[in-house]
């Protein structure tokens, strides 16, 4: 069964799991938030001129 009683080692086990959970959640949240932010900005700029967006794509591909 689920064992949550870490006995005398609770002071080591729970911080290890808590820090891991917090860092992984922050990593995921940051990646998703950045993706949402930049995609929204691209959509906004492309709405002002789709032909220029295509030109920008080509420019990025050529400079790399």
């Amino acid at each position: 069964m689920f064992d949550l009683d870490m006995g005398k080692y609770a002071a080591f086990v729970w911080p290890a799991w808590t820090i891991s959970a917090v860092v992984l959640a922050a990593l995921a949240a940051r990646a998703l938030a950045a993706s949402r932010r930049w995609n929204a900005e691209l959509k906004r700029l492309e709405a002002n001129g789709p032909d220029r967006a295509q030109a920008a794509r080509s420019a990025v591909a050529q400079t790399k």
Binding site: F2, V13, A16, W17, S20, V23, S35, L45, K64
Partner: protein, 240 residues
């Protein structure tokens, strides 16, 4: 594979793959947590064995992410593939986070088992600390140079140099005397661990790998979009 170096093709290819990676990561993490807290305590280590289920996956992914960063840096430097630099850059932060977690959880495991939070001079501990410093150096170098092309090239050189440290981390437990236990998973003759601990450990390793893949793919996609936004802004400024 080189066909995917085209940003448009990469975006199309990873569009369905990225949510799948996120889904697999969440499901595997849930199963891994369940298995980790239903496993019996170890007869020698007691409940501290549960730290292993977050420590070992973090350490493995810290190494693998640097492998991804180093190989991407090589392609960025030598072949100048459009995506390679984005891939290297996107691997740095998750890699640093996993390595930091390996150091912190290792310290929390070390205190009750070795009687010490840290041992200066220990080969495994020091080589992992150096790995973390390579990540920090990579990100700091990129941030310190305004010209993105120059920053990418300088960071790629540093990324490549850091690859030397990977076999040192892996084999440090064999080459030198260390407090750290020798390899118990990737070793001749198969894993030396009991099945009751192997199942949660391998599940958590798969979960961490899926999470890294999800974060990495999302970040590479974001980097492509960010560069397009910057190009569009620059064009707009020129036209104005």
């Amino acid at each position: 594979m080189f066909g995917l170096a085209n940003p448009d093709r990469f975006l199309r290819f990873t569009r369905p793959l990225t949510p799948v990676a996120w889904g697999v990561a969440v499901v595997l993490l849930a199963i891994g947590v369940w298995l980790s807290f239903t496993a019996p305590e170890d007869y020698q280590q007691g409940d501290t064995v549960r730290i292993m289920f977050v420590h070992v996956p973090a350490a493995s992914l810290g190494l693998m992410a640097y492998g991804a960063l180093g190989v991407s840096s090589f392609f960025a430097l030598v072949f100048r593939h459009p995506l390679a630099d984005a891939a290297a850059r996107a691997a740095a932060l998750p890699g640093a986070a996993f390595t930091a977690l390996a150091l912190i959880t290792g310290s929390l495991w070390g205190k009750p088992m070795w009687g010490a939070w840290w041992a200066w001079g220990d080969a495994r501990l020091m080589s992992v600390l150096i790995l973390f410093l390579f990540y920090i150096g990579y990100m700091a170098l990129r941030a310190s140079i305004d010209d993105e092309t120059k920053a990418a090239r300088a960071a790629a050189v540093l990324g490549l140099v850091g690859l030397i440290n990977l076999p040192i981390v892996k084999f440090s437990v064999d080459w030198w005397n260390t407090l750290h236990q020798p390899a118990s998973l990737l070793r001749m003759g198969g894993p030396s661990m009991s099945e009751v601990f192997l199942a949660p450990l391998l599940t958590m390793m798969a979960a961490y790998a899926a999470l890294f893949l999800a974060v990495w793919l999302t970040s590479i996609r974001t980097e492509i979009v960010r560069r397009r936004v910057l190009t569009l802004r620059a064009r707009k400024a020129l036209e104005a």
